[in-house]
Symmetry: C2
Subunit: 209 residues, 2 copies
Amino acid sequence: MERFSKDFRAGLHDLMRWRRDVRHFRKDPVDPALLDVCLDAFNLAPSVGLSEPWRIVKVRSQSARDAALANFLDANTKALSGYEGERAERYASLKLAGLRDAPEHLAVFCDDATTKGHGLGAATMPEMRRYSVVGAINLMWLTARAHGLGLGWVSILDPDRLTADLDLPEDWKLIGYLCLGWPQDVSLTPELETKGWETRAPALRIEER
Amino acid sequence: MERFSKDFRAGLHDLMRWRRDVRHFRKDPVDPALLDVCLDAFNLAPSVGLSEPWRIVKVRSQSARDAALANFLDANTKALSGYEGERAERYASLKLAGLRDAPEHLAVFCDDATTKGHGLGAATMPEMRRYSVVGAINLMWLTARAHGLGLGWVSILDPDRLTADLDLPEDWKLIGYLCLGWPQDVSLTPELETKGWETRAPALRIEER
């Protein structure tokens, strides 16, 4: 059984502390071999029933990127209209996606119709397939950060519109639209905290039964 | 900006390789301080809009554990009835949860009604709150494994029944029922593969647009 040292565990803790949602990217390209290393995290990720329902789309053409950006801008405008007063001003001041600068865009889907895994573990909780994809993205996120790359997860999007715009099967459910690239800077503090939107909770909420 | 060494990155890759869904636990207790170290991963996890919607329940009383076990047994019987022939035999032969032996049970919920984060990033994709909880569980999973602990994620459960049995708010959506403890053994191969249920895909499915 593989054992992990105290030093390694301290490094893992640091990695989690330094992982950030990045919205400010340099435009330098990401080496294709390094992108492959990041994507390899999917091959190591847990999935319900070994269903491995993740489907990855590299969004590279100008037309596909333009569609994603327009989708974000529309959803962001709509989201802004849901706030009022000072909160609206604050929302408008936030940079919520690095879509224009990030060299790599990955749209990650869950194939809800996959038969891989034979439905094991997904009868009462079919959402486990989507959760499997979320977990895999988080492993990739850590891998990317360990190499110095930043990842930004864009959720201000109409997911069905994106699936249609990218001409993908209807059974593919968008889980995450990810910007990947070299961050302009990295901080221990989430940008939403720096900008006064929200703070970290002082303590976990734990109940006992 | 914190940098991570080649050695550390190799260790991270090993950690992801050795992470398993564990269903065979020794009964030895988990030191409460070590459990806290694992739970601390939640404090480092990403969440949409910094909403931190995770709610953690330590399931410790005999009555609460009995309710979870009965829930699993019912859901498992029902799931078995959905298979036929050899597949049913194979399903029946699998050990799909370590509920009886695992010293710690954690039920992890998403508070869909939280106002923390002011809804940022969750207008078009409200499921992002649940995905945030999934991500945090995956960070805890890695942390646990780095300390030699095994985690098993039980999804063969009726989530609403569990929420009711544990007398928790209706807005709390069950994300994962987790067994935590010292594994009887650890393998590089998923148990579902060893037992012939399903295999790892030979390659990732990647499209380009």
